[in-house]
Symmetry: D2
């Protein structure tokens, strides 16, 4: 990169994913945001929409350019609702790298994609997309031109499961009980995020039908010899930020807590953002950060692995920037060592 | 009433005010809900909309009858958005008593009403409305046919201010710093009640322009010789239920805490639902109840009075039923001794 | 009972279990609280400790009588920390019925009890205790003299699992992912319930070692032919009240959602307090009530059952009173039809 | 400072003030933490106590050195409970600069200090302390050796009041209704921060007696010709972080919103961390940041000024570091441009 900064475009800057991309990239020492779009807020200062950024940037929201082929940036982040990047990405100049935070390019199988998203693949470009779970796919990401950034639930789940799947010791079905904060529903008010009710709520949703299931299964097949049935269930927490996944596994051989700890320590020895913690992970300790905290326990053959992330950071914008860093040959943690807070 | 129950209609049963009217009246030993309307939910079971009531009632939401003149009930509660009761109330049979929870009939002065609500008075019927702050207006309410039920902020503020206004000891301006939970914004999702942001929010709104100001001033003129300037400010709390008002007063003579305590104890000696508490009121102790908790302190001539209510109960549906009880000659507390919880 | 009221003693009235017993029993039409103890608050009005009850009772906290043999009540509730009822219960007059909310008498096997509670059985009296999960044990409870009231997690879990266990269709292991609000930790402040951190927390605790596991297993053996491995995991939610259990089951035959719905409807056809709900249960809809809301889904052989209760009501004091009602031959729902709120 | 970093000691690193000092100073480009003390956690890794910092520092908590005179640091921060810095500060080498976050050195008048803190002044050293409200005292702070860092409530209040006090236009009394999050009560669990109750609470405390009153009055006398009576009242919010102050003022002349806006804009034209905002400040937009957001409104002679800060950052550790920056001649905002988040 020599001395010049990575020139960045953000498509969809007014949602929570866009908000976090702005927060991270505005402070990134090696990146420069050239354009940030938000059609409904075009012309407004970024700091008038994301008031946390007021006084920290003079950027103004743009509309998306009509002619994308003349866009002159090194990388474009897409933080748009599902289905929109599908048609926009192919219009970009071929030199422009892409990191898409939606589900548009995550599923390789067109039939499964259609089943879960009711959409058709973008075409040939799909085969060029690399799945952006940094810790399991680092080398492919370094040389990737197009990144399908993982879903928030998929990130928490895959980081918890991958070491055991790769170990080849799993047997039987896998149950993942996952919970997310309300920011996972996006910035648009809705009945399920109406504060008077949500603040006292905990409930399940989309049983057996969540669109992150095929994404998780697809990637586990890349990680190891994955033949297990996966039961994946999503729930809503009365907090703003955070995902917690409780993963129930079974092994064919007796293992101790130490055995399992070693498997994870070894798998993640180079992963700055995965922390193996004592006790239990807690979303309180990862909120606003790019960390994924993990702990595991066994009673012999039954194993539980707990993981916690911030859904908007490691589960979205943070991991996206982590991938950008790799794609441009700079340290993976650049601009991402944001500390959480206590309390 | 002899042995028969009070026959009740509820107009607007799907909002939070309606929800609380249902909760209270379904368990009320002397009342019977004949009809509950909710146009957008007509045909649905009440327990499918207010899931807290599932299994406790078989009632179905109705549309409002086109011909109100044939409605056969003893009393009609209106829990509709501002402006709707204005035209509906005059269509009711003259025998039907009315308790309106909106602001439609609270302001006697047509000009002030127009200024704050952008609406015209309903006509002659306005003069028959009695302001339903039970503790200060009990005798008028007993014989009233039409009740304008007080606003939630107005209730908390007037119960805190009335004893001192009546004492005739006040001098100088009055500052009321009032705070409400998110349910005060109603059941419809909106940006200011979007959980991801609201859960960490506290902010002020409508400075110097809140529509409860003229309502408070109008009633203070009824309570005593009120000549003070009133500064009234509203804020939003990150809880679901509860209003807390901090009222700053000044007297012309030196008073002790005991002096002021005596004024309040005396004023509220027959008021079951006003509790003079040690320390501070706390919305935690009044939530889901019809109580108003009050405490007061002075440093001599400067006085602060704190009051706390549940905005949906004493600030709306509970007080409405309290007024119904009086209007039908039964004990004021009937059906209203719901206990709060700890925690 | 003829016309006289059930005379009640509450041991341990200052904790959250005691608080809820007071809330329910003070309003119970057929019960009369004769004495409520709280050693550290002895001499204080109940309404000074549980400020929600201020103005609703004139009761004063007592110390526990030194000579329990002369206590003249029909039933004694024990809401004390684990280990205290063990020695107190045997001192009561033999005519006095007992409902213990602690874990002291729940486990029939002395060895397992010692393993999980580090305590010895009270002796012969243990064999007279009946497990008080009302919906599965109703007939035994009617004629019981001593009731071991179920744990909060055990209640939510057993109500979710029992119909399927009784159906005899289960195969493979059972995974229960359970979550509780902070009131489950009791009224005494501690690090894990410190508000600045807890409000943004979600974490797991006691993996593979929770003391409710043997209680659940013991009762499932009574309910049906239970041979499955149980994986039970507890987590902490950032709400005050509520338990939510997600139960993952497997059957040997293909079932539809309707099949499973029928099993539950049939099992709970006489259970007023179990509601089969559409969508998902939500702790918001059961808070402060004695209801248990349940929903179930299957993809064929994999089943998930969700249940939600208020940990302090159906999970403690409410169920205790439900059991009292049965023991004294009155309607099971007496004094327990408290409605929840929306919001 | 040439190329070397500012060598820092933190006394009291395990509380919330210490936690935030660590968060900020670990990432500060011009500072180096040489020692951080926490007697009860001595020997433990910082990241085991403040788990947000796990993986980000290898520092270990120390006990405070017995012989402070040999401590070799450029500046010592004291984040200890009130009363402890009083005796420690005089033991430091005279070259060591000091920033004390407690109330020990804030009050110049020994009698008032004794009245509010029940403690005696440290002696002659008291006169060398400069009050560290950066925006009103910048020049004095640059050359100060000892800084008494303002209280959290005092910071929010003084930043809201100072421009109007300096304007000389105020008349009559000033009412400040201030609210704080639960982290203001510190890291030690207590009844008022017990989550099951606090999450639904709002209450007032210390009416007419809060120890920040004399601190505010003392500094207003430095800011301008302050003769007004100050009524200052504190309340507790059910959030973790944030202070919101509503300040009610009166002027002798008629002013417009624009007039007042100009007074504030002018007063704060060089203050990076004070943002004049549209609408209302909201603690959501300042949480975890060093910003103070302010808005003001008038109806002519009555004025309200709203301010919002994070009590632990601008109200404690952030302002402390801001002062350190000035004392060492570096840019005031160094290490303090942490962005808040949306949501």
């Amino acid at each position: 990169m020599a001395n010049s900064k990575i020139r960045v475009a953000i498509f969809g800057g007014s949602g929570y994913g866009g908000s976090e991309l702005l927060r991270i990239l505005l402070a990134h020492p090696s990146a420069e945001i050239v354009i940030v779009t938000a059609n409904e807020h075009a012309g407004k200062p970024v700091g008038a929409v994301h008031k946390n950024l007021f006084g920290l940037t003079k950027m103004i929201f743009d509309t998306a350019p009509e002619d994308l082929s003349s866009l002159d940036v090194d990388v474009a982040f897409f933080a748009l609702p599902h289905g929109q990047a599908l048609s926009l990405v192919p219009q970009l100049p071929s030199k422009t790298k892409v990191i898409d935070l939606s589900g548009d390019f995550r599923l390789d199988d067109a039939g499964i994609f259609k089943e879960f998203y009711k959409l058709d693949h973008a075409g040939a470009i799909q085969s060029e997309f690399v799945y952006g779970l940094t810790e399991t796919n680092r080398e492919a990401i370094r040389s990737a031109h197009y990144i399908a950034n993982p879903g928030c639930f998929a990130t928490a789940t895959l980081l918890a499961l991958s070491p055991m799947v790769k170990s080849g010791l799993l047997t039987g079905k896998i149950v993942v009980d996952a919970k997310t904060g309300s920011s996972g529903s996006g910035a648009k008010p809705a009945a399920n995020t109406h504060h008077p009710q949500r603040m006292n709520s905990f409930y399940a949703y989309k049983p057996f039908t969540h669109q992150h299931v095929p994404e998780i299964e697809q990637h586990l097949h890349q990680v190891g010899d994955f033949e297990n049935e996966l039961i994946f269930m999503t729930h809503s927490l009365p907090v703003s930020r955070g995902i917690f996944a409780s993963c129930y596994l079974e092994t064919s051989v007796n293992l101790t807590n130490e055995d399992i700890g070693n498997i994870y320590e070894s798998f993640y020895q180079e992963a700055f953002f995965v922390r193996m913690v004592d006790g239990s992970p807690d979303i309180n300790w990862v909120k606003t950060t790019n960390f994924c905290d993990i702990a595991s326990y066994t009673n012999g053959k039954q194993i539980v692995v707990f993981s916690a992330i911030d859904n908007l950071v490691k589960g979205a914008a943070g991991q996206a920037v982590q991938n950008m860093n790799l794609m441009f040959g700079i340290d993976e943690t650049t601009g991402l060592r944001m500390m959480g807070t206590n309390p």
